[in-house]
């Protein structure tokens, strides 16, 4: 970054600080990382697939998809983009900010809802607002696909049981002919009500630049 470029980028960063809540340092680091991933282009398309250490992740597809998902951008659009720029990248990352001491309870609540929303979007691949049995199954199958010991039927059974759980918790008085279409966001919130998301779904975004602290390779 030459000096001449510093000012417009500073403004841009300030903007992003407002929008995403990251600090300036964190944004700079993430931008470096973004450039690394995108090979110095402006947008990322398939580059995320090439991240090596993601290969072992059972839900790699969903994670990558989450970046391109428009619903995670804070607007109400559905569908997924073909490519994302740095701002979209940041917005997705912003879901994982941990609360600080200064976060008020309302903000905490909002953050929690945001995180739940992120998870919900990961499930709901067809963007219809509910998680159907099939979609849930897919997720469970993927999760279990790495443990290597369970077959598809087992994963299905588990997904079914989980759906039943949701149904019975949320709609305890279903008539025999009722059809439980899928988990809506409210139900989703309900079943995960007591779960402490703060300790589980956060990333400590470092202020120090770690990308250069690795041993030189530009892999991840």
């Amino acid at each position: 970054m030459g000096g001449s470029q510093a000012r417009p980028e500073q403004n841009q960063y300030q903007d992003l600080v407002h929008k995403t809540g990251f600090s300036l340092e964190q944004i700079k680091n993430l931008h470096k990382r973004f450039r690394q991933l995108s090979e110095n282009e402006e947008t990322i398309r398939e580059n995320l697939e090439s991240v090596v250490s993601l290969a072992n992740n059972p839900i790699k597809k969903q994670i990558i998809e989450a970046f391109f998902d428009k619903r995670n951008q804070g607007q109400d659009e559905a569908g997924s983009s073909q490519e994302i720029g740095f701002e979209q990248f940041l917005k997705v990352m912003a879901h994982f900010r941990p609360p600080t001491l200064k976060t008020s309870p309302e903000e905490r609540e909002a953050m929690r809802k945001e995180k739940l929303r992120f998870l919900f979007n990961m499930h709901d691949t067809d963007s219809d607002g509910t998680i159907t049995l099939a979609e849930y199954r897919t997720v469970v199958e993927e999760l279990l696909s790495r443990s290597g010991t369970m077959g598809q039927e087992a994963a299905r059974a588990i997904a079914d049981a989980a759906m039943l759980e949701v149904a019975s918790t949320n709609v305890p008085h279903m008539a025999p002919d009722d059809f439980y279409e899928g988990i809506t966001f409210e139900h989703f919130e309900q079943i995960l009500k007591g779960l402490e998301m703060e300790s589980r779904m956060h990333i400590r975004f470092l202020d120090v630049d770690t990308t250069t602290m690795r041993c030189g390779k530009s892999t991840s």
């Binding site: 600080t100 997720v139 077959g151 039927e153 079914d160 019975s168 300790s199 589980r200």
Partner: protein
């Protein structure tokens, strides 16, 4: 309740008096009388002198030899007395809510001590510091270490160590210095205590005690981080305490302290701390490795656990390094691997015995604390003691404040002020300080004063803080963690989140402890598990939880309908059922769904891996009742699978589908017969439980990481039969758990029962898994969930 109290206290009084008399009577061990009738142990010490009879005329019909059994007898009586006290507390329920047991035990000890004192009796000579450190402390620490929730611990390890090490140092030095300053004031008359002695005393009383803290905190449900930090701190500050104690002890005799001594002290600290952990890990790994080969000697499996941990403790004591850390790390290391290797019974036994020993030791310790508090010589000094109290509080509070400020930026979830208050207020001192005070060398002039001050602090913190912490925490509304989330959804989503975070971290190129955890898990799976675990089949925790829930569901149902047992199925009836498999599903009532909901809602399992953070101090982490049901059901289930082999057990015609009581209402109005019509391919039978109820008392272990829950219900003769059920699945596609199996589950179940082939008389074969196999083997249409019209199967 009054009369029960007086009844108890009378009884206690009687026991105490007897003890005192016996003790007095057995004061000297007389020469063993060879012949002749010895009299009852008399009150005067001279009683049981026996001189050989001048002549023996007849065979003595009745002899008594008390001194021979004296020591074990008295120990047993003391333990019984303390245990009765424990029983007595729960007579009045409200009391245990407000007053932690440690307080009650100390009170009883005080009373007994007062009695003994008034009879001019000495406390049992067995209460020496050796006995305390070698016999009474290890079980408690093992208990704490074994049931320590590992995941939160490792996530907060930095904070824990920070508070344990730096916090204890801060406290000791702070209190020591301030007390030394106080000593300079002439009015208190303690000027002869020099700096080293003050520091030594401060080191003793700054150690937060796990026994006291846990007995208080376990009822007060604070948030997970706070709990684990307090918990971890009291376990791990032992290293610092040991070093400081030894160092100051050594230095107390020296007139001048040199900087090189301080440096040596630091070096010693590292040796003590790291050496303790190293020994612990070493013994833990050896223990895990040993249990890999114990499949043929199941009865003594628990022994290895205890022996190895005790060895770790003793070896650490041998080298004067931190034995508490050794035993804690040993328990932490070996628990994970051992619980996968041993049988379920052994696992339950281990847990139960660990809890029991810990409980006994804790009871005894507090009890004796009370006794000795009265009977020992005291030296009272108002100024010194009061200032000790003051400084103990002050420095702890300050320490927590300062240390939290420093470490909060490094924490993801920082401690707010309320957490800090909980942290500071929860610093109770207990028996370790007490024992350390007792072991002070006698050349310290003011030893009695120190002992008195220690006792005062302990009693003060345990009583005052122990009783008031609960209402205070509720009043200031410290953040709580909901412990009861054991549903499939939660589990699935926890895993989902973990993977997501790991993935995102990879994407943004930043490491945190998820990364390390991931790396460690990979290392674990690739190397450690291969070496240390006999049956290296990893199982997802989601799956394990699911299985557990399913089984418990089934057990609950079977339990509640145990009255409606119909005769054992014959082969013919099973055939019929098979035909019935293709019948369309009946519609289900909302009531059934409600019942299912009830089942799911009230079954809170604790996954072994992510053990509930706070296990109750006085209860096993597992719900033993449910497990017992589970075991019983299991055996019955297995028995039922041997057609014709039981005349006295009955099994209904219907084979219940274990998973989610497909339509089975919990009302026992539904006769079993109907079930067979409506529920296709139920896999297990309901058996007459009352017949078998008494057989199994061991509980299953809750297993998440283990290959299969209830896998090794290796009982006796049913095993060959069980194998038949899972043999066919095995034939069809391998065991459910390890292999990915093909579907065609429907054929599995009834066919399985038809095949009485006793192949593979393998003890370790699945018992519950047959059930599991069945349900897992279902393809879509078979799945009860989908059979219901509610689940309109969208996809095939």
């Amino acid at each position: 309740m009054d009369w029960t109290f007086s009844k108890h206290s009378d009884f206690l009084l009687v026991v105490c008096t007897v003890l005192c008399l016996l003790h007095a009577g057995g004061g000297e061990v007389p020469p063993r009388p060879t012949r002749g009738v010895t009299v009852l142990p008399p009150v005067e010490p001279d009683g049981p002198h026996a001189y050989p009879e001048p002549e023996k005329d007849s065979l003595p019909v009745f002899t008594m030899d008390y001194p021979r059994i004296q020591i074990p007898f008295e120990i047993t009586l003391w333990v019984l007395l303390a245990s009765f006290a424990k029983i007595g507390f729960h007579v009045y329920n409200k009391m245990t809510i407000w007053v932690p047991e440690s307080c009650l035990l100390i009170s009883i000890g005080l009373i007994v001590g007062a009695i003994m004192h008034s009879v001019n009796e000495e406390p049992p000579a067995v209460l020496t510091s050796n006995v305390f450190f070698l016999y009474m402390l290890p079980p408690i620490v093992l208990d704490s270490g074994y049931f320590m929730p590992t995941r939160p611990f490792f996530e907060n390890m930095g904070t824990v160590l920070w508070f344990a090490v730096v916090g204890t140092l801060w406290n000791s030095i702070g209190i020591g210095m301030s007390l030394f300053a106080i000593c300079q004031i002439e009015a208190f008359g303690v000027q002869d205590i020099n700096l080293q002695e003050n520091l030594l005393f401060a080191a003793i009383i700054s150690a937060v005690d796990p026994v006291a803290v846990l007995s208080v905190f376990e009822d007060v449900s604070v948030n997970e981080q706070l709990y684990i930090v307090v918990f971890g701190e009291c376990l791990f500050n032992d290293a610092v305490t040991v070093v400081l104690y030894n160092m100051f002890n050594f230095v107390a005799e020296m007139p001048v302290v040199e900087p090189v001594d301080v440096f040596l002290g630091v070096a010693r600290f590292f040796i003590v701390g790291l050496g303790g952990m190293g020994f612990g890990v070493l013994f833990g790994i050896v223990a895990a490795f040993t249990t890999r080969f114990t499949s043929k000697v199941r009865e003594i499996e628990p022994l290895f656990i205890f022996m190895y941990s005790y060895l770790a403790y003793l070896v650490a004591e041998l080298f004067a390094i931190s034995s508490i850390m050794a035993i804690v790390t040993c328990a932490l290391t070996m628990k994970y691997y051992v619980e996968e290797n041993v049988s379920q019974r052994s696992c339950t036994t281990i847990r139960h015995v660990v809890k029991m020993l810990g409980s006994i030791s804790e009871t005894l310790i507090f009890f004796f604390l009370g006794v000795v508090a009265i009977t020992t010589e005291h030296e009272w000094n108002w100024g010194y003691i009061l200032f000790t109290l003051l400084f103990a509080f002050l420095w702890r509070g300050l320490g927590v404040l300062v240390l939290t400020q420093i470490i909060n930026p490094f924490r993801t979830i920082p401690f707010n002020l309320k957490d800090q208050f909980g942290l500071a207020y929860g610093g109770l001192r207990g028996a370790i300080s007490f024992a350390l005070a007792f072991t002070l060398p006698d050349n310290i002039g003011r030893k009695q004063l120190f002992v008195t001050a220690t006792i005062v602090i302990i009693i003060f913190t345990v009583f005052l803080q122990g009783i008031s912490i609960r209402p205070l925490i509720e009043f200031i509304n410290v953040r709580r963690t909901n412990r009861n989330l054991e549903t499939i959804n939660v589990e699935v989503h926890c895993r989902l989140m973990e993977h997501t975070i790991a993935g995102i971290e990879d994407l943004c190129g930043q490491w945190s402890h998820f990364y390390w955890k991931d790396k460690f898990m990979k290392f674990n799976n690739r190397i450690l598990r291969r070496i240390l675990i006999r049956d290296n089949r990893a199982e997802s925790s989601i799956v394990a939880l699911y299985k557990k829930l399913e089984l418990q569901n089934a057990m609950e149902i079977l339990d509640t309908v145990s009255g409606d047992i119909s005769p054992a199925p014959s082969i013919a009836s099973l055939h019929e059922e098979k035909k019935g498999l293709v019948k369309p599903k009946k519609k289900f009532l909302a009531a059934e769904l409600r019942n299912m909901h009830d089942i799911l809602a009230k079954n809170m399992y604790k996954i072994r891996q992510q053990t509930v953070s706070y296990t109750s101090k006085h209860a096993l982490p597992n719900d033993s009742r449910t497990k017992e049901i589970l075991i019983r059901r299991h055996s019955s289930v297995r028995r039922s699978l041997r057609p014709g082999s039981f005349q006295n057990t009955v099994a209904p015609k219907s084979q219940k589908y274990f998973s989610l009581p497909a339509g089975r209402s919990l009302d026992s109005n539904f006769p079993p017969l109907r079930r067979s019509d409506t529920d296709d391919h139920e896999t297990t039978s309901e058996v007459s439980f009352p017949a078998r109820r008494s057989r199994f008392t061991a509980s299953t272990r809750t297993s998440s990481r283990a290959a299969v829950p209830l896998r090794r219900l290796d009982t006796l003769e049913e095993v060959p039969r069980v194998s038949m059920l899972h043999e066919s699945p095995a034939r069809r596609g391998g065991h459910v758990i390890p292999d990915s199996h093909s579907s065609s589950g429907e054929r599995r179940l009834p066919a399985a029962r038809h095949r009485p082939d006793p192949s593979a008389n393998d003890e370790d074969n699945f018992t519950a898994p047959p059930v599991w196999a069945a349900e897992a083997g279902d393809n879509t249409t078979r799945n009860p969930l989908l059979r219901r019209p509610q689940w309109n199967v969208k996809k095939v």
